[in-house]
Amino acid sequence: MKKQYETVIGLEVHVELATKTKIFCGCSTAFGAAPNTHTCPVCTGMPGSLPVLNRQVVEYAMAIGLATNCEITRVCKFDRKNYFYPDNPQNYQISQLYLPIARNGYVEIETGNTVKKIRIHEMHMEEDAGKLIHDEWDDTSLVDYNRSGVPLVEIVSEPDMRSSKEVIAYLEKLRQIIQYLGASDCKLQEGSMRADVNLSVREAGSETFGTRTEMKNLNSFKAIARAIEGERARQIELLEEGRPVIQETRRWDDNKESSYAMRSKEDAQDYRYFPEPDLVPIVISEEWIARVRSRQPELRSEKLKRYRKEFDIPQYDAEILTESKSMADLFEAATALCQKPKKVSNWLMGETMRLMKENGMEPEDLKFSPENLARLVCLTEKGVINSSVAKEVFEKIFHEDINPEVYVEEQGLKTVNDEGALRETLKKVIAENPQAVADYRGGKEKALGALVGQTMKMMKGKANPGMVNQMLREMLQ
C-alpha cells in the first residue's frame, strides 16, 4: 500500500419492534410459530383488505427517536415502496420516504478514551416482509407470511464512522438504548436487529467521499467487523490497481469471508414511491411527545448514577452490569430480594458471564430468575452451603432455573456443621496421613492444606472449611 486510506462508513439499521401485534393488523408478532398461522387478509395482501396503523409502533418509534436526540416529525406519512417479490404479499411495502417519523439525531459512542457523535440522518417506520423457504428437493419455493407486517424501524446514520470498532460501538449503543426502552430485544441472530453497511474509502486527508458499496447479510457483530475489514481491503486493492469502485449492493458470505455483487446501481430498482392512500397522516402533538417522554424508562447513564448512590458496588461492576438492560434488571431484582448487591454482582460478573461465554449467549438469553439467584446468595451467606457447592448449584440455576433451597435439600448438599461427625472423619484423616501430620508438626504450615483437602474429599465437599481448619489445628496440637 503506497498511500494512507480512510474508511468512511454509514449504517442502515433495521430493528423489529416489540409490539404484540403487527403494524397494520391484529396478528401476533411472536417468533417461531408454524408457517402462515399468524396471518390474516391484511398481512397476506388479499384484495379489499386495508391497513390500520398500530399506535404502539408510533410510540416505540417516537421513544427511540427521542432517546437518539432526533426531531420528531409532527405530521408524518406513510409511502408505498413498489417492488415485486413473493415474500412481499402486496408487491409494495408500506414504508416512509417523504416524511419519516424522526430526523437529525445523534448518539455518542466511546472508543478508547474518546467520545464521538454519530449523527442519525433519519428513522422511519415500515413493515417487514414474509420469509421464503426454498425446497431444493422439490425445486419449489414456499412462503411464510408470519413475519409479514411485523413492525420495523430503519435507522439511517450519516457516514460518520471510520472503523469497524466505531461501527460496533455505534451498534452496541443503539442496541443498548433500544433494549433499555423495551422497544425491541435486538437479537441479531433472530433478525430482530439487522445492519446494512455502506462503505467507501478515500485517501487520508481527502474532503470528498469515494464511491460506496452497500453490504448486506450481516448476522453478527463479528460478521460485521469482518465484512468491513474485507470490503475496505477490496476497495483499496481496486484503487491501488487504478480500477474504479462500482456503486453496488454486495452480499457478505461470512463462511467464505468474502462478498459478491448482488446488483449494481444501473439495475437498481425504481421503487415508484408515492403517498400511501389507505392511511391518513399521523399528526403528533406536543402533548403526545411529552407523554412518551415522561414514560421513557431510565437509560443507562441515569442508571449508572443511581447505582453509585444506591448500591455499594465498585464503579467497574456498575458499568458492566448496566451494559445490557436485562443484566441490570436481573441485578436489581435479585438485590432487592437478598439485599447483598456485591454478592449478586459477583455471581453475575463471574460465573454468569463465564457460562454465557461458554454457551455463546447474550444477556437477553438468560433464563434464570432473580428469585433463585437471591436464594443462592442467602444460602451461602448463612453458611448453609460452602462456596464450591454454591458454584455447582449455580450451574443448575443457570441452565434449569432450579430452586436452590429445594435442590440443596434433595441432594444433601448442606455443609456439615456436626462437630461429632467431623471429629470422626478428622481422626481417620490423621490416622491415614502420618507423613503430612509429621510435616505439619515439624513446622510445615502447607501440610495442613493437604489434610484439609483430604477431609473435604471424604466429606464430599460438604464440610465447613473454616471449621475443618480450626478443629484440625486443635487436634494436631
Binding site: 388479499m46 384484495p47 379489499g48 383488505s49 402486496q90 408487491n91 414511491y273 391518513v280
Partner: protein, 518 residues
Amino acid sequence: MELLDLTAVELGKKIRQREVSAAEAVEAVFARAETAEPLLHSYVTFNREDALAQAEEVQKKIIAGELTGPLAGVPVAVKDNLCIAGELTTCSSKILSDYRPTYTAEAVRNLQRSGAVILGKTNMDEFAMGSTTETSWYGPTRNPHHPEHVPGGSSGGSCAAVAAQECFYALGSDTGGSIRQPSSFCGVVGLKPTYGTVSRYGLIAYGSSLDQIGPITKDAADCAAVLEAIASYDEKDSTSIRREDLHFTEALTEDVKGLRIGIPADYFGEGLDEEVAEAIRAAANILEEQGAVVERFHLSLVDYAIPAYYVIASAEASSNLERFDGVKYGYRTADYDGLHNMYKKTRSEGFGAEVKRRIMLGSFVLSSGYYDAYYLKALKTKALIKQAFDQAFEKYDLLLGPTAPTTAPLLGESLCDPLKMYLGDIYTIAVNLAGLPGMAVPVGRDQNGLPIGMQLIGNHFQEKILLRAAYTYECATNRQFEKPADIEKLQETCREKTVRNTVEKKEEVSAGKEVQAR
C-alpha cells in the same frame, strides 16, 4: 309483473306487512333475470338457491320481529368488486376469475345486517377501469333501453340490473363517475357519497383515494334508505369518517324553497349534446319553479380534472394491482420459466387491455424523474379543484349540471378511442378529486329513447341536500326511474347474436379454469 315495479322501500313495506314474502321477491327477479340476462348480461354470478336460502332466513327474522328496517327481505345486486365471503369476487377480470374471499365488505355486511337478500354479483369494467362495462373479461353488459348501446360504466351491470328490474336496488362503486354515469345512461338514481362515508373495507381498490361505494336505486327515497344502511364509521378503514348525520331518510322532504343552486357554465361548453343540455335546463327550471334560486356561475379548472384524475387514479391502480401476481391466489399462467417469467405471463394473460394501459400509465407517472412533473402536479391540481368547489359552496347549497356530455354510446364506439372515452368523464371526475358527494337523477330521454341524467353535486357531508332536491324534483315531475320499453320484445331482435357471444365466452372461461387446475 306488478311486484317488480315496486321500489325497494315499497317492497320492504309489503314484506313487513306480509303481503309479499322475501322468497316471492327473489323468484320474481329471478324470472325477470332469466328472460333478460341472455340479452343484457348484467350479472357475473346469480345464485338463485343461495338467494332463496337467505330469503328464508330473513323472512324468519322479520316474522320474529328481529328485522324491522325498510330493506329487510329486499333483493339486492352487488358490484363484483365488493368482497363477499365464500362468493366469487372477480372484478370482471380473468386474473380473479376463481377468487373467493374469506371476508365480506363492510358495506355488504351492513346490508346483511339490514336483512338484505343478495342475489349475486354484477358485471363491471375490469377492475372498474372503463366507462362502458365493455372491458369486462366476461363480455359487455347491454343497455336495457337500447341493446345496441352500452349501459355506461364501470358499474354498468348494477345500473342495468336496476333499470331492467333484475333486482330492486344495487351497490356500485365510483372512482371517477362509475356510479353516476351508468345511472344516467340507464335512467336510474345513483349516488356517490362524500369520501369516507361508506367503508372501503372489502372493496377491491382501483384508486384508493377516490373510491367510494354508493347506492343505485329506482328513486331518491330508495337511495336515502340504502345510503343510510351502508354508511358507517369503520375502524378497519383508516379513511373512514365518523359522522353523526347518517339518517339520510330524514332528508326526504318536498322543499327546495330558497335553496341556492349553482349551474357551472363550464359544464355547458363544447362537447355537450344539445338534447342533454336541454333536458338539464328543463330540470333546473322545475326546481326553480319549486322555489330554488338558480344561478349560472363559472366553476373554473374543469379542463384540468381529467388529466389530474388519470394520473392519480392510474398511479394508485398500478400499485393496488401489483398484488395480482399469480403467487397467492387468482389466475396463474400454465407454463413459465422462473419467477419473473411467471409474473410477466400471468399478468400479461390475466389483465385486459384497458387495465394494462392504466398500469403502464400509472407506473410511468410514478417513475423517478417523472414523479414531480406528473404525480405531484396532479396532486396540486387536485387541491386547486377542491378550492374551486369550496368557493362555489360559499355561494351555493348545491351545484347542478349534466352527468355526462352525451347519452349512452353504441357498443364498441368508445373502446376504439380511449381518449374520447376519458373525456366522457369530464363532469363526474372533479367530484371524486374533491371528495364531494354527487348524485345522478333521471330527467328524461333523447330522441333515441336513451335516458338523460342530471348531476347534483353537494359540499362535503351534504348528501341530504342532494336527496332533498332529487326527491322534490321527483315529486314535482311525478317520475322515478326510466323504465325500459319491453325487455322481451327487445330480446327477440338480439337473441341470435347474444346467444352466440355468450357461448363463446363461456368456452373461454372454462378453458381458463382448466389451465389453472393444471
